[in-house]
Structures are given as structure tokens and as C-alpha cells.
């Protein structure tokens, strides 16, 4: 079981690096979708044999929403906004990947130092969760397109979910459903916002939004 969990975690790490390295939005959206599905598997496999109906059903619902529904919404938003690539990120892709490598080193160090109430099934669990969060941060900070920023937000949420799967084995059902609903509504709203931004400006570069203001010039 431990090897399976480890393999899933390594795939999670690799999708993180893929997100940092790829300039194609469709590839990034697919990477986040794969992350969502992997997290579903992870939540089921890391339960150490004490499977309950809710414990299986919730990960499946979450994998379905994150792996199929949200990517579908985002791919549609991408098509509506006529953008295929993230053209000019604030730092180059090579630099993003190296930032990712540093983030991985930091999260491996953090994973060793952090005292936890109950030991997760794999020693790689907490570092992967931290790394996924940090990838989300890097995407949010360094990318210009609205869609990539939404992806960054989703990745961040995936990291939090992974952390939850690692330590809080018995998270209340209502809380999990609530988070899932929040994410869904969030992405839904962002999809609409992306559509409106692209219709208003003919592109979805968010750094131009700075010039929007209520003040009269």
C-alpha cells in the first residue's frame, strides 16, 4: 500500500513540474485534472484499510468534480477567450521549473521538521502537499493570463486537499462538501469573469486590470 501511495505522490509532484514547465493552457488544464483524479485515489488508498461508504464516495465525487467538471468548464472558457498559450509569463519557464525544484527542497525540509498529530502513511505525503501549494503560489504570482491564475488557485486547493488527506483522516463530511462547493462556485464565477474580461479587452491578461478604477482622472 505504501508503494502505491508513494507512486501517486510522485505523479502528483510530476504534474506540479508539468504545470510549471508548460506554456500550453490545455496541457496545464489537463495536468490539474490529473491532479484532481490522483488526489481522489490518494484519499482512498491512504485510509489504511478502514474504508467506509462516505470515505470512498467523497473522494470519488471530488475526483469527478476536479477531474472532469472543472477542466471542462476551463477548456470552454479557454475556447471562448481564444487563448492557447501563456505567452509572456513574468519569469521564464526554465526559471519556474528551478523555482519548483527549490520549492521541493524547502518542502522536503519542512516535511521532516513539522510535528503532526498522527503520522501519515508515507513520509513523502506532507512534502508533496506543501510542494503542490507552492506550485499554486508560483502560478498565481508569475503568470499573466486569467486562466493560468485560476489553475494556480486550483492547484493551491489541491495541495490543501492533499494535506487534509495526509493528517485529517476523519474530516467531517459537511466541511469537505462545503470546500468542494466553494471551489466549484469559485471556478464557475472565474469562468464567467474570464469570458467578460476577454470580451471587454480582447485578451485575458490580468495585469491590465490595474488601470481599472472608480476614481475620476
Amino acid at each position: 500500500m505504501n508503494q502505491l501511495v508513494n507512486a501517486i505522490l510522485v505523479f502528483l509532484l510530476l504534474t506540479g513540474f508539468l504545470l510549471l514547465a508548460s506554456s500550453r493552457l490545455a496541457a496545464c488544464i489537463r495536468a490539474v485534472a490529473i491532479q484532481g483524479i490522483l488526489l481522489g485515489f490518494l484519499a482512498i488508498t491512504s485510509q489504511d484499510g478502514k474504508l467506509s461508504v462516505v470515505g470512498v464516495l467523497l473522494p470519488i465525487i471530488s475526483a469527478a468534480v476536479k477531474g472532469f467538471l472543472l477542466p471542462w468548464l476551463l477548456l470552454r472558457a479557454m475556447r471562448d477567450a481564444d487563448t492557447v498559450r501563456e505567452v509572456e509569463p513574468l519569469i521564464t519557464y526554465n526559471l519556474s521549473v528551478m523555482t519548483g525544484a527549490m520549492a521541493l527542497a524547502v518542502s522536503l525540509w519542512l516535511g521532516q521538521r513539522l510535528p503532526l498529530p498522527n503520522q501519515p502513511t508515507s513520509s513523502l505525503f506532507v512534502p508533496t502537499a506543501f510542494f503542490t501549494c507552492m506550485v499554486g503560489f508560483v502560478l498565481l504570482v508569475t503568470r499573466r493570463k486569467a486562466i493560468t491564475q485560476v489553475l494556480g488557485y486550483l492547484t493551491l486547493e489541491n495541495g490543501v486537499y492533499a494535506f487534509g488527506a495526509a493528517v485529517a483522516l476523519d474530516m467531517p463530511v459537511l466541511v469537505e462538501l462545503g470546500i468542494l462547493l466553494d471551489v466549484f462556485v469559485g471556478v464557475f464565477v472565474m469562468g464567467i469573469a474570464i469570458f467578460h474580461i476577454s470580451r471587454q479587452f480582447d485578451h485575458i491578461d490580468t495585469d491590465r486590470l490595474v488601470s481599472l478604477s472608480d476614481r475620476v482622472r
Binding site: 508503494q3 510522485v10 513540474f17 526554465n94 521549473v97 519548483g100 525544484a101
Partner: protein, 301 residues
Amino acid sequence: MSSLFPLLMALALAPFIQGVINRTKAVVAGRVGQPLSQPYRDLVKLLRKGAVYSQTTTWIFRTGPVVGLASMICAAALLPFGAFPALASFAGDLVLLAYLLALARFFTVLAALDTGSSFEAMGASREVTFSALAEPALFLGLAALARQTGSLSLTPLLTTISPSTWMQAAPALGLTIGALVIVFLAENARIPVDDPTTHLELTMIHEVMVLDHSGPDFAMIQYAAALKMWLLGAIIVAIAIPWHSDNFLLDGGAAIFGMLALAVVTGIIESSMARLRLLRVTQLLIAAIVLSGLALALVQR
């Protein structure tokens, strides 16, 4: 006898692997393709020809192919094949292996610069850029293997990998194989990095450096290139096929089958992918470094 086996296999079968790759590409493209022995025939043909030397070149130009071939043969003596131990083995020989590859590359680059052609210098510059990124990936991958198996010599390192090693550290070994395959393709100038069949100045890396060599010199370069492909391939195969029986025929057959399978996979990669833009190649190699670095981080825990 069994310690001579890896070296003899490398010397005898290295060009055959290239023949298999060419045949695979031909079959995928729907052609009949060259005979599998074509690389050998090319070598014989080149050896019978005379060499032409430009008057601007010096002794460095003539030394390049000799040093290249010599260091490849030395490297082949260090590398085990399947379950068979290498001819020579001592602690730290994996560093020597990497630097023998680097030495061959250094002299090829010097010989290319010696011709005074800006065209060859461009190829040399590209070769050095990409190999500077491929080398850390190779080193980190070997370091991960060394850490996992607890030995610093190639023979125990590659021959002790067993199914139980895979049970313990499958993710790390898988990542190492991924990184080494990228290094294999980059170092041997295969497709996502360089196109071995093209002779267009904008695209090529390795081929452009050896344009001025002819006759026996070129034969040595071709043979050294085949050996290099065999060596890097043998590392990958040794990790990917961990089963060892004590039967000579079974072990030898499994290792040779692994090499042929690797050749077929390379042929399929070459047929199904386009060459990457030069800027993207660095990204691919950085990905290889990340993969093997991740493998090392995994076995450290």
C-alpha cells in the same frame, strides 16, 4: 570469460543497435529499410577509403577521433552488461565513466574547432551547451542508484538491482529511468534533441562537428558514437530488467533483448516526434535534471 562478455558484446553489437533503430523507423514509415548490417558495411567502406585533411588543421584534428574511440572502449570495459560484471571495477568508477564520455566529447569539440569553420564551431557550441545540462542529470541519476544500492562501483551497483529493489523503491527507479532515457536521447543526438539524418545547418548538433572528418577517421567517429549509444543504453537496460538467473544464456539473452527493445522504442520515439526547438531542448534537459534530482531526494528518505 564472463567478465569479457560485456566488452565483447559492446564491441560486436553496438552498430547493430543503430541498424535496428533505422529498421524500426523504416517499418513505421512503411518502407522496407536498410539491411540490419548496413552500419557494419558503412564502417568497412569508410575504413577502406583514404582520409583527406585540410591544411588549416593541426594534430588535434587527427587526435580527436582516436581519443574518442579509445575513451569509449575504456568506458565499455567499466560497464557491466545485464548480470555480467565488467572487466574492471573499483569504487568510484561511475565518475570515471561519466568523465570518459566527457573526454571523448571534449576532443570531438576541439577537433571541430580546429577546422576553423564557423559552421562546426556552432555545432560545438550547441553540443557543449546541451551536454553541460545532460551531465548533471546523468550524475544525479547514478547518485540515486548508488545511494539505493549502497555501492560506488558500477558493477555491484547495476548488477545488484533486483525485483526486491524495485519493490522497495519503484518510484525512484522509474524516475531515474526517465531521466536516463532523456540523457540517452540527448547524448546520442537522437530525435527530440537532434536529428541524426538531417544535414541542414540550422538543425544539427553532433553531425555538424564531424563534417570535415573522412575515411578511417569518420569510421572511428561512427563506431565511437555507436559504442556510446550502447553504453548509455546498457545502464537503462540494467535498471529496467532486474531479473537474474545464474544461467549464462538466459541472462545474456535477456540483456540483449533489453537492448533491442530500447532500440525499437528509440525508433518509435523518432518516428512519432518532431525535433524540439533549440530553446525547448534546454527545458527538456532541465526536466531530466529535475527527474533524477527527485529520484535522489526519494532514496535519501
